[in-house]
Structure formats: C-alpha cells, structure tokens
Symmetry: C2
Subunit: 451 residues, 2 copies
C-alpha cells in the first residue's frame, strides 16, 4: 500500500483517457498527491476501438486497468467513480454517489461523446464508438445481423439484414466501413449456408463534400479508391436526415439497414456545463494557450474537451494532442509550485493517419509528406504498436495482426454481451428475447430431406 | 455457400458444447444433413471458464464461433436459436421464436445448469459458472468488490467487500477459490492505496464431508493443503442454508460477503421435460447403454444431460464423457443407416484433474496413478492446451499462462459488461447506477493535504 503524502497539494484528474493518463504519468516525480478518477476501471486505446468493434482485436488488447498502469506511482491513486459536477469556487468535484473530493489543481480530461445534432433519440438506433462497451455493442449488432440474415427467407428482409450504414466520413467512419466490408468479404465468407456474406452492403455517409476532411485532396482520392475496392458505397454531401429502428434516411433515400453506426460528430461531456464558463457550440470548453478556462487558473482542460485555437486553427481532437496537453498541464503545475514562469502550450502536429481495411492506409506526415497504400499501413501499425500501453498488449496485437494479415481471420467473433444482459435479468431457464427473435423463420429452412 | 443435400436423413444436434460439437465433427463424412443449434454463437471450453471468471484468460481464448469450427463441414449448418421444446412424436424441435425444425435423428446435448436446490431466487445473488456471460458476471463482481473496498472507510464493510464465498467443493469450486485467492494475494497486491488485497477472505463451503469427492483421500488432503497455503478457508460438512444480497448463511454462521459464487450442483436443462420420459431427481434423462431415452430410438442424449450408469457407477459429467458420447451417437447413426448392428456405449475414464492456484494441481489417472503439485499442474496445462480448439487459442493461452506464471499478472482485468448494460439502457450522458454507488464515500478520502 502506497501511503498518501499529507501536506502536498492535491491534483485531481478527471478522466483516464490519453490526456488524463499522460498528466498522471508526467506528475509521477512531482511533489503533489494525484487522484485519477474515471467511471471505468480502464484506459481505452481509442484509435483501435474500431478493431474491437469489428472482431479483430479483443477488449483487453485496447483497454488496460488504470490501477495497473499507475501501480508504481507512489503519489497517485485511482478511483473508479462518476463525477457529477465541479464546484470551481469551492474547488470541489461532486460524485453521483454523493461524495466529493477537494482539489488544489483540477485537470479536466473527460473527453467528448457522440453528438446527434439535437436528436439524442437516434442514439438507441445508431451507437457511437467511444468506449469498450460501445465497441462490444457494435460488434454484437454486426455479427447478429449475419445470423439473422442466415435465417431469413424473405429476400428483401435478408438484404436489409446485410446492410450497414456508417454515418460520418472522418477517420472513425472510414475505418469502421473498411473493417466491416472486409469482415463480410473475407472473414465470414465461407461460414454461412443460406447467405453469401460477400453480398453485404456497406454505405458510408458524409454530410460534407469529402471524406477525411483533414487530409489533402490526393489522399482523400486514394482513400475513396481503396474504399471502392472493398465495395464500400460512399455518399458525400449527403446529410442523414433521420435514424430509426429500420435504418436511416440518407439524403432523400431511405436505406433499410440492420445497423446504423454513428461516427459523425462529437460534443463535450456534460460535466463541462458545471464549470460555469461559456462553452462553444459543440459543448467544448474554450481555453487560453495555458489550457485554463477563463478565470480558473487552477483548472486545466485537456484533450477532446478543450477548444483550443493555435495559429488560427483549432487543435484537432486526436490522441497526440490530448497527450501533449496532459503533459503540459502536469509540467505547468510543477513549474507553478516551484515559482517558475509557465510558458504557453504549443501543439506539435505529428501528422494524421487512417487505415482502410486490412492492409491499406493514408497518412499525412509533417513537412507535407503524403503516404498511402501498404507502406502507410505499415507505418500505421508501427505507430499504434508503439503507443499501446505495455509489452503484453503490444506482443498480442502484433501477433493478432500478423495472423489476420495472412488468414483474414477475426479472432474475437463471440456474440456475448447484450445477449447475456437479458439472460441475467430473467429467471433462470427462461429464454433470451434476442435469441428467440432468431429461430422464428426456421420452419421454412430447407435441410431435412425425409420430411 | 455449402449446399444442403436434399434426400439425406437429417440429424439435429441441440447444443454446441463438447457433446454436440463432437457429434457434428464425427458426422462430417456421413451421408446425413446436420443442423447444429445453439442459443449462443460459440462453443465454450468449460474446463477453463473459471480462468475467464478470474481475469486470467479472455473470452475468445475459451469461446469459438461454432460456424468457424464447422466451416469446412459440407453437410452441416449452424443455427443460432433457442430451442423451446421437443415433440418426439412429430420428430420436431420448436423454437422460442415460433419456428420449428424436423429431424430424423436428434442428439440432445444441451447440458446442465446450476441447481439451487429448490431456491431459484438464490441465483441472482450467487451466479453459477456455465457460460461466458456467467464468467464475465463473476469477473465483474470480484473486480468491483476490490474497487468498492478501496472507497470504503467503515472497517466492517470493507472486510465484507473483501469476502468471497464459493459454494461447492467440486473441481469448479476448488479452482475458483484458488484463482480468487491468488488474484487477491498476488495480481492485485500492489494496486490499491487504502486496502491490502492480500487480506481478502476466500471461503469455500462444501455440504459433504470432503472436497473433490471423486478423488482419492490422499489427493483430497493434498488439495486441502494447497488451498490452505493460498489462504482459502475450507468448510466441509457445512451446508449453505440461505443466500441473499448480504452474503450467505454457512451452516449456522452468517458470512457477509461481496460475492457468493455457486458451484454446488447441476440439473438438466429444462427442455428435457418436453421429451415426455421420466427424469431423474436432478432433471437429467436416464438413458440406456445406447444413449437412447426409453422408447425413443432416434433420440440420443449425450453429455451432462444424460444420466448413464456403467458398471454400477454413474458416468461423471465431465468433458471427456460428453465427447465420447457425442462421437458414439454419431457413429451409431451411421451404423444404423448402413444396417450394421450398434454396440452399446462404453465410457473410457481417462482420469480426473483439477488445478489449485497458479502452479498446483491434483490428478487421478487410469491405473490408480495419483499425481499432485507442480507435475500435476504441468499435466493439467498440457491436457487442456491439447483439447483447446484451434492453433490460435492454443498459442495464445500458452503464452498467457507462461506470462502469468512468471509475473502473476492477470491480463483480462477490465470491468465492462454489466456496467455497460445499464449505461446502454439509459439516455446518453446520464450516470450509471453501479458506478454511482462507487464514489459515495470519497469525501472521507484522505489525500488532499492543503484543504
């Protein structure tokens, strides 16, 4: 048991994502007492979340217990709890459970959540991809769709089951669309008797005029060509007008689909409102180059939650930015405690990279270097392996990637989570709702010849 | 797409466990049309389920998609559906979804479920260990208990959070108790600030006079000694009289506990009742040496569901028995179709083996050979690796075991499933009940010195 050092200034970090974790790590040698608070017990490696959602990686490859990551930090403790509000005057964070914690410094790193453009009711029908729970939900919807299609004899309904709409042409949307197309075209190819999974339809919808808006035109074209080769239909300049249990209204065309997945926009976590400062129209906290919200010199906002403008351009909501900001906040606290002057934060853009399917990617590197195809994919793999936390996940993810590169196999194809949910809620021996939806068509099923 | 062969006799297999899967595999070259039906999409490697429940292995290590396992079987298809009842007269299985399927031969391999001795209401408070969902539920309860204890300041309540009761001294109970004790003593040892996980109390309760009743006396003694070394309290000849949300009444002693886990007894799956034959007092189907229930010559019952007596002793509910019975049923069908006489089934006892903690085991081998300690554990590991389905899980499990043998680390420590369950059910941005239970004590928390 590490002992808490009474008398040291307390730093409370809300959120164990890239920003919060980077701050906690940078504070390890500092003469402060750190409390890292997250409602989950684990850090999530968000850039690879889409691979968990499409049965390529397993949850423990991309989620690591925060306690384990910080176990050698003598001055840190981890609390699994949900923050409800911040009282910036009393320097206090309140929890949903009723408790609270005081802080001398607060690092707010709670990130962003999917934004449904004023239609929160769409969320039920179009899950976003922010947590491991989200990834498992998406994996469930996609895998069950193939199971249902296999039992469906009405051809229209079968086509609906095999249609997937992905909303949002940013990196997450592009990566999800490519991974689902490849799951259908390769991994599941030979597994069914009544359906041909390679006929699955994957539609990627983007309201703006181009996908991967942050990338140069040439790379956008490359990405479009790579998506086309995987059989993904891309609709640009096409807003999604509504989403319900049957599918989505894409521009003027209703597309019946078994799953609509949301990768279209983000807004700040609701706790930002309690800070008492004006938020931007995405619900993010505008911060000065010192990462302070106006009038709150002992609060830092880092990561996706911060709206920071540098050289006239917004700093993007990507993990390198969150890491750099988290580290900056930690060093700023140490400098201030030592009476040293605090320099403003500078974001160093390391470039952007996104994968399309199993072996292709596009990358924009510093110095206006552009890369695409297999080489970009190798770079992508190397960069992400480097940033994964710990030797074990690195080795495992590397082996998994090598394995599936050669076999197209997806190791993580279990349908568990939401099914078990219902089973658990019912008296033992009763039947699960979702499984029982399956099976309703089976009487029409061909096999038995002697009947 | 494999084509169904019209005109061939249809074999319906209910259940994709060891028995059902062995039958499907043995039928691969047979001139029949096989339909394997399971309510999950995966086969579960039950002997290692306790390792998934205690964060040693990940779900995909021990669960494999049935479709993938049977993808090269030209004469087989897999249906994910829940069977509701069997109409043996019409030779028909009905599904919860309303559909049905006819059969010429039925192999009933739906296995057993935990039996609460007439108290089904205990199940909510004392989950059993039969599916991957069960394993994730147990993992959740155990890991969250440590998180809650960390935030608890009342010493009595903290002790309750760190108390785990395992009911049933068979192999599952012994393995669970050993694995939880080791999780607390080693894997979590350094991860907390306010609690000492090594003080966790693990109580193993057995109503009968000895643990591992199927093992020789000497091995039982060895197992007791190994459990004692791990700090597990064992209570024998002590029935559990009640279970509720606070813990269990163990003999005359109420034990307050954060989790009560059930490994005490099994009963047949409810679908057995619809067969129309008398069941034994565990709800299992008494079968002849040909594995037929009385009067149903085209139905085979295999695995845990079958009550079979051989040489005056019941054939045990272990995976080798299920595999042998599944293969027997397949070969019996082929022999019958070829007009060959069908020999009765003979169970070949390969021995029994159970692990206790990270590097100890007890084994009873054929020829009355007994083994215990590290050597038995090596044998255990080799046997289980051999029986795992597929190269990928084998390599992964082997690497995981080697890794955790040297580091005591548990890779699969994510708290996800049941938490996400509730989050999903609530409007976005609202707080999860279970997380909010955490955090209620935080105001009392020591750290901040300057307040």
């Amino acid at each position: 048991m590490a002992s808490s050092r009474v008398g040291r200034p307390s730093v409370v970090i809300l959120g164990g994502g890239f920003g919060g974790l980077a701050a906690a790590r940078a504070l390890r040698p500092a003469p402060v007492q750190v409390t890292l608070i997250d409602r989950e017990n684990h850090h999530v490696f968000q850039p690879l979340l889409y691979q968990a959602a499409t049965a390529q990686l397993e949850a423990p490859d991309i989620g690591y217990p925060l306690r384990f990551l910080l176990r050698r930090h003598e001055n840190s403790e981890v609390l699994m709890a949900e923050a409800r509000s911040i009282d910036a005057t009393a320097q206090c964070v309140h929890f949903s459970g009723g408790g609270s914690i005081r802080y001398d410094y607060l690092i707010l790193a709670t990130g962003a959540q999917p934004s449904y453009f004023g239609h929160p009711e769409w969320r039920t029908h179009a899950p976003g991809l922010k947590s491991i729970g989200d990834a498992l939900e998406i994996r469930y919807r996609v895998l069950v769709a193939f199971e249902r299609a296999e039992q469906e004899h009405d051809l229209d309904k079968r086509r609906t089951q095999l249609t997937f709409v992905i909303v949002g042409g940013g990196p997450t949307g592009v990566e999800l669309a490519g991974a689902i197309a490849e799951l259908a075209r390769h991994a599941l190819k030979r597994d069914f008797v009544h359906i041909d999974p390679t006929c699955a339809r994957v539609v990627l919808v983007e309201a703006g005029p181009s996908i991967l808006a942050a990338y140069p035109k040439a790379l956008q074209q490359k990405a479009l060509a790579q998506l086309a080769r995987l059989g993904v239909e891309v609709r640009m300049s096409t807003p999604v007008r509504s989403v319900d249990e049957h599918g989505a209204l894409v521009g003027d065309e209703p597309i019946a689909a078994s799953a609509v997945l949301w990768a279209a926009g983000v807004s700040g976590a609701p706790i930002a409102r309690s800070l008492g400062v004006p938020l931007d129209h995405h619900g993010l906290v505008p911060v000065a180059p010192t990462l302070h919200p106006p009038g709150l010199p002992n609060v830092f906002v880092v990561g996706d939650m911060a709206a920071l403008v540098q050289d006239g351009e917004p700093v993007p909501g990507v993990s390198p930015a969150a890491i750099q900001e988290g580290r900056y906040a930690a060093h700023a606290i140490v400098d201030e405690l030592r009476g040293k002057p605090v320099k403003p934060f500078r974001y160093w853009n390391k470039g952007l990279i996104a994968t399309i399917g199993r072996s292709k990617a596009v990358a924009r590197l510093p110095g206006n270097v552009q890369l695409s195809g297999f080489l970009a994919w190798l770079l992508y793999s190397a960069v992400h392996l480097t940033y994964l936390a710990g030797l074990r996940p690195r080795v495992h993810v590397l082996l998994t990637w090598i394995w599936s590169f050669f076999t197209y196999a997806r190791g993580a194809r279990l349908i568990t989570s939401p099914m078990e949910e219902e089973k658990g809620a019912q008296p033992y021996g009763q039947l699960s709702m979702k499984t029982s939806i399956l099976g309703s068509q089976i009487s029409h099923s061909p096999p038995s010849g002697s009947t």
